[in-house]
Each structure stands twice: as structure tokens, then as C-alpha cells.
Amino acid sequence: MTILEAKNVSKVYGTRRGIEHKAIDNISLSVTKGEFVGVMGPSGSGKTTLLNVLSTIDRISAGTIEINNQDIAKLSKEKLAKFRRKQLGFIFQDFNLLDTLTIAENIMLPLTLDGWKVKDMEQRLAKVSKQLEIDTILRRRSFEVSGGQMQRAAIARAIIHDPSIIFADEPTGNLDSKASKQVMEALSHLNKEKEATTLMVTHDPFAASFCERIVFIKDGKLFNQLDKGDSRQAFFQEILNVQSMLGGDTDDLQTVRL
């Protein structure tokens, strides 16, 4: 079953008299249920823009995007927000946990906004926090826990309402290697056990190696696609090869020096 279907999507910036810049140029992409897709590309390739338009935060200039057979271009801003709240889950590089809330309150936030009953929310919370092994820190505040724990709390928030698809924007960007591993294992575990459909944008080949399929983009266009074979190690090597072929900035290749 197709969850996300993007056809001939383009995003153009600076249309008002100025110089036009095509951030995304005619990209088509589809994600089926239970898939774990990675999007990679050098800086400025348009991968964050792609994530933004796919996740309804930004509007597209041309093409169509359907999530769960719903054409998102047809929804008003107000409806889009409610759509995101119900159908999408978000994970960010800088976690975006509110520091005025406890970890538990942060995780329950999407359900609260949707007007759930307290009892039901608490049931869900208990379940997801156990899955992500953060059930011991629920009463703490965001700045009192480690980066890995913060990101897992953010993941819990992204999945607590059983979204159709999870969008992750550089989820390991702010984490050390140990925390990165924890977070990626958690994501991949969710993907396998719960068939959580995930689309992740990343720089990090190590993080990307947890995906099942990787889409490379360059200058706003699809460049290449890789499918994971049997071994994550081999997949990691392939990713590095494509990256050097892409010839991105040196900082994109940081992990090569491992």
C-alpha cells in the first residue's frame, strides 16, 4: 500500500521578479507502508526542502503529493496543521522538545492537542516510553536528560498518535556516535516491529545505513537510488561510494575518515 506518492514535484524560490531558483526539480517518489527510506545529498541539494514539501510544511510549485490518498495541495493551512497532527510524525535535528514541559508532557502533546482523554493518553504513553526505553525519565524536564534520551523522547512524541508516516530531519545531527546508534536502532526497531513508515533526511552515512532504501538527490534532481542488501556493512560502503561520486562538500564526507 502506498502511503506517500509524490509526482513531478518542483519547488521554485524567488519568483517575484528576482532570479528564480529551482530547489526541487521534477522529483517523483513513492513510499509504501512499512518502508524506511533515506534521502541523502550534498549541502544545498534540496533534501531539506524536499522533506519540507513532503511533510506539508512548505507548499510545492508544481506536481502533486498524496499522503494516504489525500492530495495535500487541496487542504487549507488550518486543515494541513490538523492533518499533520493526526497523520504525520516529526523528528528534528535539535529535538524541539519544549523545556517548559516534562518529558511525559512533551510526548503526550500531540494527543492533548487532539483532545484525547487523560486515561487513554497515559496508556499510550506507557506503551511508547517502554518501547523506547525512556520510561524512567518521564517526570524529568528536557534539559535534565542526555541528547540520546531527548531524541528518543522526540521519537516517542512522533509515534504516539500512530501516524501514517514519520518524517525525520537529520535525527542524529546533534548526537555523539553512541547516542546516534541508540536512536537509529530505535527507529529501525520501530520500523520493523510496528511497520512504522519512515522518511529520513540525513548527512550521516552511518545513520543512513539503517534505511532499506536511499534516494540521492543533487541540485534538486534525483541522482541515484540504493537498496539495502543483506549486510548493513556493505550498504554503508555503497553509500560512501555514491557520496564520493556526488562530490559534495568535504563535510558531507566526514565519516569517511573513520
Binding site: S55, R84, L109, L113, G115, V118
Partner: protein, 636 residues
């Protein structure tokens, strides 16, 4: 781009942030300037009120100036703190400490010069209206001419310029210790969970409640002792309400999960939890400022509005003459006929009663106290003249003791029996207190009404010099003839008439005193009040960037713009109207205390006044809310 241009552009491009700061500065400059214009007005210089009024204006000027100083210091500090990151960036780019200081001073000078210029301009525009009102109050015939003394401009410009410069130096000094990294971090350090103590919360609430109780039960005598105690209770009480009680209250709400986890409440309440704690001291300050300004202007306005009723309550007869001694009593005929002539000349309807009273000594008294006796039939006529009710005497042994209005609310020991004597006649009577129906003054002692038969016996026994003559006038629609009555009473010969009392004199004296005070008081109150609003605005603006950051991430996870507006509106409304509400509550208990002292109801004037403030405040609230939401919309 020169350095100076850079500073200028900084101000220009931060115009929105500077706006409220600029308006508040401009307002205080304008007010200061208008007072200065009056102080140096050449036509006032020669006026007899001059010394008195000028001292009043001088005091007002000093208060305005001192207040502006603190206000500008606070606002500049707040503003610069909100731009710390920018300064951090400039420092990494290699701006020297000296250059940064120079930049700050330059920016402040620019804004200062602009607000001084704008303030003086606005002042010139409004000074004409102001002078008109002022001459009305002082009763100067014709109004003062439109005249701006160069001295007034000079005083305003120089003193405010010095103030702005001094303030920028102070702020530069405050900022001096910050290293680049501190500047970059700014206010980013994580906040601790707000703590509170139950004991202190309860103490806070207790202090405020007991102050309320004291105010509500105060009367004319006790208020002078209680006023200080009330202040001593209310100020720390209010402080504790904000720092402890409010946090305690929110913690209770947080425990009520159904409410707390209901949609956007989670965000509103948790944010408010921190904002209340962060701003507790500020909110306390704003509350006290507003309460002071409400109370001061409310009490003054209330008293001013009720001056007529006060006159009615304190002075039962519209105009009265009292004298004693044989020669004076006959001489009074002439005075009465003079008054009648004056009143008839102006076609004023009036009626007059002429009565005689007797001086009697209290027999059992240790100090030689005496009373004034009047016959019951005269009392009935007095009462009829005032349109007040007539109490019947139960028997001939009863005597009415007339209590002046001031004392009616106060319990006094009235003896069971009273023995009085005139000449060789002595009577023992049962005194019954009733409200006064005739004018009392320093010349009158206890005024007692006795039955006509007893009065007759005293008259027979009394010596000629033991008699009083009292004439009371009822002047129809007296408040319209106050000036005429004043003229009449000024003409009366003090050697013949012992005491002249009129509602008009009382009324005019009260009005004049109050109108000065009201005039000065209201201006300072409004200034305080606007400053309170501006301070809130700055605080809000300081936190805006951080809030926007948070809203951005919330937007991604599906918070609608409508909900954002809701949350923002609720939060701003709480921060704005909690101090307002509390200040109104404080002030209403002050009004309650005032009410215990006044004859007429001040409910209407105080409601009028508070509504006026509410309108100004609401405009302010909607203005700031729209700025906030415009900023929200822009980034979403």
C-alpha cells in the same frame, strides 16, 4: 557605511521594537514640557496663586522626571538585553569594547533626541488645551494666552537630554562585564522548575485579606492609624501572591489532569507557569503602580464628584447666621435684610427662618460645659426647611441632642440623664441623639431640642446675654448660586455675626482644593499607568524570539495558527489583566474605605474611572497582541 550611519540604521530598522519605548518617552517629555510651559507662563508669574501653584507644579515635574529616569533605565536595559546576541556577533566580528559602547550611546542618543523633539512638539500642540483647563481651575478670568516660554523648552530639552545620556552610560556600565560567550548564550540557560512554599502562599493571601478587612471596616477616625498598617500588609502580601500563591495555584491546576491536558491548555498553562515566575517581580511592580494610580485618582475623583453631597451632609442649612449678645442680635436685622435684598435682586427663590436659642450649663459636668437650647417648634421648622424628616418628642422630659454629620457614624456615650440650668431654672431631661438639622460650627456647643413648654420656662429664666439668634436660609437650587452666596457671605460684618455657614462656601472650598489635587494627581496616575503597560510590553518583547522559536516547532507537529493565536492571546491577557484585576481589587477596597467617610455613593465615579482605565488598557492590550500575532504570522 560610516559608524554613525550604522547606528542610525540600527535604530531605523528596529523601529518596531523601539516604538513603545519611544511613545512612552515622548509622552513623559510632553507632560513634563506642558507643566514647564505653565510654570514659566508670564501671566501666571504675576498671579496671586503663583507661589502655591508653582510649588505644586515643581513637585509634579520632579516626580515625572524621577519616574521617567527609572522608566528609561529599565526600558533601555530590557531592550539591550534582548539584543545581546547581536552584540555578541558584533564582538566576534571584531568590534572593540569602546566602539560597542559608543554604538550603544549613539543609538540611545538618537532615540532620545527624537523623543525629546516629538515630545516637545506634542506638548506645544496640547499645551493650549491644557492651559485653558488650567485657567478654568484657577479661576483666572479669561484664559491664559497661548505662550511658550523659551525657558520651558530649554528646561525640557536640557534635562531630558542629560537623562538619556546618563541612562545610556549606566546601561553601558551594566553591560560591561559580559564576555562574548555570555552574550551569545543570552537568556538561553535552562530555567529551573518554579518552586513555591505553601506557607508563604497562605501568608501572602492572609496579608492581603486582612488588609482588605481593615480597609473595609475603617472609618474616619480609624483610617489614619490603619492606613500605614494596610500598606504594610498589602505590599508584601501582593509580592507573595505573585511569587508564591500564583505558582501554587498553577501547580494545583496542573494536578487537575482533565483540565491541564485539555487541548491547548497544556501549552498555555505550562508556559504561564514559567512566565509568571519570571515576571513575578515585574507584575508585582505593575500591580502596585496601577493600584496606586487607581486609588489616588479614584479617591480624588470620587471626592470631587461628591462635593455637593458632602456639602449637603455637613451643612444642613443652605445659609445660616448665628450671633449672641444684645447688640449683635439687634444688629443682625440689618444683615438679614441685606441678604434678602441681594437674593431678591438676582431673582433667587428663598425662604428664611428666624429663631432664638438659649445658653444653658450642664449641672453635673466637671469642666464647665454648656449647651444651646432650641424649642421643638423651631426644630420642626428647621427640619421642614431642609426637607428632612421630623422626629416626634415622646414626652416633655425628652430632649434631642443634635449630632453633626461627622459624628453620626461614631458611637458615643450619651448619658442617661442630663441636668441643665439657666439662671435659676433647672431641668433634668433624657437625651436622645438624632441627626443635626441646623448648621454646627466651632461656636456652637451641644445643640439640644426641648419641648416648647420647657423652652418657655428657660426663656423666662434666661438673661439677655444668654440668648442666641440663628437665622437659616433655604436657597432653591443652591449649587447654581454658589458664587452669589459667596459674595453675600463676604459682605457680612464679622463683628456683628458670630458665625456664617453656607453650603456654597464649603462646596467651593472643597472643590478648589480637590481640583488642584485631582488635576496633578490624575496626570501622574495616567503616567504611572502607561509606564506599567510599557514595562509589560518590553518584557513581552524580550521573550518574543524564544516564543517564536517554540511556535515554529509546534507548527510543524500540527499546531494550527488559530490555536497559536489562542495561546498567545491567553498568555498576554493573563499577564496584562491579572495585575489590572488585582489592582482594581486593591483600589476597590480603598474606595470602600473612602465610602465609609463620604456621604454620597462613590460607586458611580469609581466605576466610571476604572472603566476609563480599562478602555485605555484594553486598547494597549489589543495593540500589543496584534504586534505579537503579526510577528507570529510573519514567521509561519
Amino acid at each position: 557605511m560610516t559608524f554613525r550611519q550604522f547606528a542610525f540604521n540600527n535604530v531605523k530598522r528596529n523601529a518596531r521594537q523601539y516604538m513603545s519605548y519611544f511613545f512612552s518617552c515622548m509622552f513623559s517629555v510632553a507632560v513634563f514640557f506642558i507643566y514647564a510651559v505653565i510654570m514659566y507662563h508670564h501671566e501666571i508669574d504675576g498671579h496671586e496663586f503663583r507661589a502655591n501653584v508653582q510649588r505644586g507644579i515643581m513637585a509634579v515635574e520632579m516626580i515625572i522626571f524621577a519616574f521617567s529616569f527609572l522608566f528609561v533605565l529599565y526600558s533601555t536595559g530590557a531592550f539591550i538585553r534582548s539584543r545581546k546576541k547581536e552584540y555578541g556577533l558584533l564582538m566576534t566580528l571584531g568590534i572593540s569594547k569602546r566602539q560597542l559602547n559608543w554604538l550603544l550611546i549613539l543609538e540611545n542618543t538618537i532615540i532620545g533626541v527624537i523623543s525629546i523633539a516629538a515630545g516637545v512638539l506634542v506638548g506645544i500642540l496640547f499645551s493650549n488645551i491644557f492651559i485653558m483647563v488650567f485657567s478654568q481651575i484657577l479661576g483666572i478670568e479669561g484664559t491664559l494666552g497661548f505662550y511658550i516660554a523659551p525657558k520651558a523648552v530649554l528646561l525640557t530639552v536640557v534635562s531630558y537630554f542629560i537623562m538619556f545620556e546618563l541612562n545610556s552610560l549606566l546601561v553601558v556600565w551594566i553591560l560591561r562585564t559580559n564576555s562574548i560567550i555570555d552574550l551569545f548564550r543570552g537568556a538561553k540557560a535552562p530555567k529551573q522548575v518554579p518552586r513555591f512554599s505553601w506557607v508563604l502562599s497562605i501568608i501572602g493571601a492572609g496579608l492581603v485579606l486582612s488588609a482588605y478587612y481593615l480597609a473595609a471596616t475603617a472609618d474616619l477616625i480609624t483610617i489614619f492609624n490603619r492606613m500605614f498598617i494596610i500598606l504594610l500588609l498589602i505590599i508584601p502580601g501582593t509580592y507573595l501572591l505573585y511569587t508564591q500563591f500564583s505558582i501554587a495555584l498553577i501547580s494545583i491546576i496542573k494536578n487537575r489532569k482533565k483540565l491541564y491536558f485539555h487541548k491547548t491548555n497544556l501549552l498555555t498553562i505550562s508556559e504561564l507557569h514559567y512566565k509568571l515566575k519570571d515576571n513575578a517581580r515585574l507584575l508585582f511592580f505593575v500591580t502596585i503602580l496601577s493600584a496606586v494610580s487607581f486609588t489616588a485618582s479614584g479617591v480624588l475623583y470620587g471626592a470631587y464628584e461628591s462635593a455637593q453631597n458632602e456639602a449637603n451632609a455637613y451643612i444642613p442649612h443652605d445659609l445660616s447666621l448665628l450671633t449672641d449678645g444684645e447688640g449683635n442680635i439687634t444688629g443682625m436685622d440689618q444683615e438679614i435684610s441685606n441678604i434678602i435684598t441681594s437674593l431678591e435682586k438676582e431673582n433667587v427663590d428663598f425662604s428664611v427662618i428666624d429663631t432664638t436659642g438659649i445658653k444653658a450649663d450642664i449641672v453635673d459636668s466637671e469642666e464647665e460645659e454648656s449647651v444651646d437650647l432650641w424649642a421643638y417648634s423651631d426644630y420642626a421648622e428647621f427640619a421642614r426647611l431642609n426637607h428632612s424628616s421630623i422626629h416626634p418628642l415622646q414626652n416633655d422630659n425628652q430632649a434631642f441632642v443634635l449630632l453633626p454629620y461627622l459624628l453620626t457614624n461614631i458611637e458615643r456615650a450619651i448619658p442617661e440623664t442630663l441636668t441643665i440650668r439657666t439662671g435659676d431654672h433647672e431641668e433634668t431631661l433624657q437625651p436622645v441623639p438624632i441627626e443635626a438639622v441646623m448648621n454646627t460650627n466651632v461656636r456652637t456647643r451641644y445643640t439640644i431640642i426641648v419641648a416648647d413648654t420647657i423652652y418657655q420656662q428657660f426663656t423666662n429664666a434666661a438673661d439677655k446675654h444668654e440668648l442666641y439668634r440663628y437665622s437659616a436660609f433655604s436657597i432653591s437650587n443652591w449649587p447654581q448660586h454658589t458664587e452669589l452666596v459667596k459674595e453675600i457671605t463676604d459682605e457680612i460684618d464679622d463683628n456683628i455675626i458670630l458665625s456664617t455657614d453656607s453650603k456654597a462656601d464649603f462646596y467651593l472650598a472643597l472643590k478648589t482644593t480637590l481640583s488642584y489635587t485631582l488635576f496633578f494627581g490624575l496626570f501622574i496616575s495616567v503616567l504611572f499607568f502607561l509606564a506599567a503597560g510599557s514595562i509589560l510590553y518590553f518584557k513581552m518583547y524580550q521573550g518574543l524570539d524564544k516564543d517564536i522559536e517554540q511556535y515554529k516547532s509546534l507548527y510543524r507537529i500540527g499546531l494550527t495558527l488559530k490555536e497559536m493565536k489562542q495561546i498567545a492571546t491567553k498568555q498576554i491577557a493573563f499577564l496584562f489583566f491579572i495585575p489590572f484585576g488585582l489592582a482594581v481589587l486593591h483600589a476597590s477596597f480603598a474606595f470602600r474605605a473612602l465610602q465609609n467617610m463620604l456621604a454620597s455613593s462613590i460607586i458611580l465615579p469609581s466605576i466610571t474611572l476604572i472603566s476609563g482605565y480599562l478602555v485605555i488598557y484594553s486598547i494597549y492590550f489589543f495593540f500589543i497582541r496584534s504586534l505579537y500575532i503579526a510577528k507570529l504570522k510573519k514567521v509561519m
